[in-house]
């Protein structure tokens, strides 16, 4: 295929060529960045909670004036009687629930060596098994590991299970079993390491702190009551939760059932990521509309060029060019214009990314997005030009002999 005649023809239509190239360039810039934004959102949504989400639900009761021990006893026995409930336990919060035990820890009793802000899961007997936490080191908590809260918030001295991510942050390269840390005067000793366990509200310190969780086995009482973890038999969770919500209101009429928080972990997860999903949907809509408009623009302009050059096409055909030659001519022409647009678009995409980085917490656009965006636009261009190019190829040689 000769490129020179195409370039010569394009030089005659400099303005229109530039416009299409500019449109492709803008589309390329928006496409790359929108795809990147979608990918960022999707990866944020891809948190491994480390618990058996499909089998778990939370029931939350607010009651300032209740006797906590009495409330726990009533609810634990009442909910346990619901058919399909495998276990009920007391816990302070669940993954994708509210923050309940967020605190800074230190690696020495004096509080000099700051370890980071972690989330404490303060949880009663049965909860470890109910959550379905996977261990990578240490034994599961035994009955003696569950301690009483003496003052407030946490047991004063406890064996705890930390995630692998937290252990690697606190003691890089060392065996975390038996290591100690402090939160104010509270003292903890690592008795086991968990594969995964996400903190309730994602990670405030960025994605790397997402799994900075500590499981503290604790006996229910004054400072541990009101939030209950339900584990249901496989496939029965929605009905079990519905029954449990109805039962909880009857079991504790003086308490307020938290309607928003008393959900399955799956529902809490969906709600937690709702706005991310909506934004990803909007971005996807923008991409589709953008590609559509760009394709329509190419179709429109190519059709005009074909109509304008009917006579020239006829002459070329009369001089021996095949249908395939004509078809390839328009395809090559489109390829050249789109390539020009892409070259310009890559620069624009980078500039747009830099601007976005200034206003939003966004990483740099990975280079791999550029060839993918380019390939998509080349394909789009070829698809859009196909119909006009076929029409051009169908022009009969006899056109050359007609005067107009």
């Amino acid at each position: 295929m000769q490129i020179r005649p195409i370039l010569a023809a394009l030089r005659k239509h400099r303005l229109a060529t530039l416009l299409i190239a500019l449109e492709i360039a803008l589309a390329c810039a928006v496409l790359c960045n929108a795809c990147f934004l979608i990918a960022t959102r999707m990866s944020a949504m891809d948190i491994r909670s480390g618990v058996d989400e499909a089998a778990l639900a939370q029931v939350k009761l607010d009651c300032d004036d209740c006797n906590a021990n009495d409330l726990n006893a009533r609810v634990l026995s009442g909910l346990g009687k619901i058919p399909g409930v495998r276990s009920v336990s007391v816990i302070n919060t669940v993954p994708f629930g509210d923050h309940a035990g967020t605190a800074g820890i230190s690696l020495d009793p004096a509080g000099q060596h700051f370890g980071g802000v972690v989330d404490f899961y303060v949880a009663g007997p049965g909860s470890f098994e109910a959550l379905g936490l996977k261990r990578v080191a240490g034994a599961p908590p035994g009955p003696d590991d569950y301690r009483r809260i003496d003052t407030t918030f946490l047991p004063a001295d406890a064996s705890v299970w930390v995630t692998r991510a937290l252990a690697e942050h606190l003691w890089p390269g060392a065996d975390p079993l038996g290591k100690e840390f402090w939160m104010d005067k509270f003292h903890f000793r690592v008795a086991g390491v968990l594969a995964h366990f996400a903190r309730p509200g994602g990670g405030e310190g960025g994605p790397s702190t997402r799994e900075w969780s500590v499981f503290v086995p604790t006996l229910p009482g004054k400072d541990l009551s009101g939030v209950y973890l339900l584990r249901a038999e496989p496939g029965q969770l929605p009905r079990v939760l519905r029954d449990a919500r109805a039962a909880a209101v009857k079991l504790a009429p003086e308490a307020v059932l938290d309607q928003q928080a008393s959900r399955t972990i799956g529902e809490l997860r969906d709600r937690y990521f709702e706005s991310d999903r909506a934004m990803a949907g909007i971005l996807l809509g923008v991409i589709v509309a953008l590609l559509l408009v760009t394709a329509l623009g190419i179709v429109g302009l190519a059709s005009f060029w074909v109509a304008q050059r009917r006579k020239q096409i006829g002459v070329r055909r009369a001089l021996g060019a095949t249908r395939g030659d004509i078809l390839r001519y328009f395809q090559t022409e489109n390829f050249l214009i789109v390539s020009l647009g892409i070259a310009l678009g890559m620069l624009l995409a980078y500039a747009l990314n830099l601007t976005l980085m200034e206003f939003y917490e966004l990483p740099r656009l990975p280079l791999s997005y550029l060839p993918v965006g380019a390939a998509a636009l080349w394909a789009l261009g070829q698809l859009a030009v196909l119909a006009p190019a076929l029409r051009a190829a169908a022009v009969p040689p006899v056109v050359a002999t007609r005067s107009v």
Binding site: E254, S275, A278, L290, G297, G300
Partner: protein, 434 residues
């Protein structure tokens, strides 16, 4: 002349129905997206109390430590400690002033078979209602005396009144909140300013429904109601007595009628901060006194996502306009012969330019009409989004007019280049070619 251009333009557009539809559709998509996001942005960045907001100011003090303080640069804290808020309210240096915090209020219905539930409450001082011009349906607010006496009084919203008292005049009746009895002194008419300016910094939602109960600050605290947001800047001894603990949890709003009043209040605030520094209660003398709109900008009340969507929509509109330019250009170049004939018959360059601009404007008008429909569709989509501002996204008369303004401006911009190229066509070569 205009009528003739109109006729020519319509003929030309009709001759190429597919292409015309294409241009209109592309432009309409761009306009629909732009108007949808602009409407949302306008609602979210709007003035919550038109006519009143310019007189309302938010004083701030700084409880930060001495270390790291840079005079003139350190930003004061979002909220105040109880003693400071009360000192400012009691000083009465503004026309009106009120301190406030948000709280969850447990409502216990007095009817059988109804379960207690939580609702959004505001703990505040007497001036709150007059300060913000809150409309009452029945009764009114409470007095500064009631504040001091810790009177168990409540103002409730219309919704809650409908729920508890079936919409009857409930002034004088009792409502049970946090297991204490409060006497209703007033029922509000619907009041939900958007954005919810007074919740900023206090840990509340930025948009959505209004609050349901308003209680005198000290009476609410006596009923063990805690603030939504509490920031403590040194070690606590007793979390239940946040009035005396080193914690910040109150916002203060003041009404200042003119620039002189603002200047004198700022001087008073600076003097107060310096005095507290001298007393050793504060470490930093920095203060701020922003008006309402400046405060809303400062706390960045408009969600980042909405801003990003608006930029996206404008980028999209730009692409649509470039697309229209290309198509119009192709079209006008193809009509070189027709232009040549018109020029030979005496049409001036200006006449040709006008003719093509009219054609572009018609495309713009059609794009505007279709874009308006698409914007309505887009806003319907926004209303079904999981965001607290979702229900606010509605098209008003101003945005209706703006839609057509955007449509005309973008189509005329798109038409400029093709029309200019068309007007440059020389008559002779075109006629010879024929």
């Amino acid at each position: 002349m205009f009528g003739y251009y109109l006729d020519l333009a319509l003929r030309s557009l009709k001759r190429n129905k597919a292409l015309t539809a294409l241009m209109v559709l592309a432009l309409a998509l761009g306009i629909g997206a732009t108007i949808t996001t602009l409407t949302t942005l306008r609602v979210l960045a709007g003035d919550p109390l038109p006519g009143r907001s310019a007189r309302l100011f938010y004083p701030q003090l700084d409880h930060g430590p001495r270390e790291g303080y840079v005079p003139g640069q350190s930003e004061p804290d979002m909220t105040m400690a109880y003693p400071d808020a009360m000192n400012l309210v009691h000083a009465r240096r503004a026309t009106r002033q009120a301190a406030m915090a948000l709280a969850q209020a447990k409502i216990v219905p007095q009817r059988a078979n109804e379960h207690p539930y939580f609702t959004n409450g505001v703990m505040t001082t007497a001036d709150f209602f007059a300060l913000f011009g809150v409309p009452f349906k029945y009764g009114g607010g409470w007095t500064a005396d009631d504040d001091e006496r810790r009177a168990p009084l409540a103002v409730i919203a219309e919704d809650l009144n409908d729920k508890l008292f079936d919409g009857a005049d409930s002034v004088g009746r009792t409502v049970r909140i946090n297991d204490r009895d409060f006497r209703v002194v007033g029922v509000l008419k619907h009041w939900a300013p958007q954005p919810r300016f007074y919740t900023q910094g206090l840990g509340g939602r930025s948009y959505g429904d209004g609050d349901a109960v308003f209680l005198p600050l000290q009476s609410a605290r006596a009923a063990r109601m805690g603030p939504q947001d509490l920031e403590c800047y040194s070690n606590l001894t007793d979390i239940n007595h946040i009035e005396t603990e080193p914690c910040e949890w109150l916002g203060v709003w003041v009404e200042l009628d003119d620039a002189a009043a603002v200047a004198s209040y700022k001087a008073f605030l600076d003097g107060y901060a310096r005095q507290q520094v001298a007393l050793g209660r504060l470490q930093r003398p920095s203060t701020a006194l922003r008006d309402m709109m400046a405060w809303l900008r400062h706390v960045q009340v408009v969600p980042d996502d909405v801003r990003m969507q608006t930029y996206l929509a404008f980028g999209f509109l730009l692409i649509c306009v470039v697309n229209t330019v290309g198509l119009l250009l192709a079209k006008c170049l193809r009509r070189s012969r027709e232009i040549g004939v018109r020029r030979a018959l005496g049409a001036t360059r200006r006449a040709i330019f006008g003719q093509f601009m009219v054609e572009a404007a018609i495309v713009g008008l059609a794009g505007g009409v279709l874009g308006l429909l698409l914007a309505e569709l887009g806003l319907w989509g926004v209303r079904h989004q999981p965001a607290e501002y979702a229900s606010l996204a509605r098209l008003d008369l101003g945005m209706f007019a703006l839609t057509f303004a955007v449509a005309f401006v973008s189509s005329l911009l798109a038409g400029l280049l093709p029309a200019w190229r068309a007007s440059l066509v020389a008559p002779a070569p075109q006629l010879k070619a024929a």
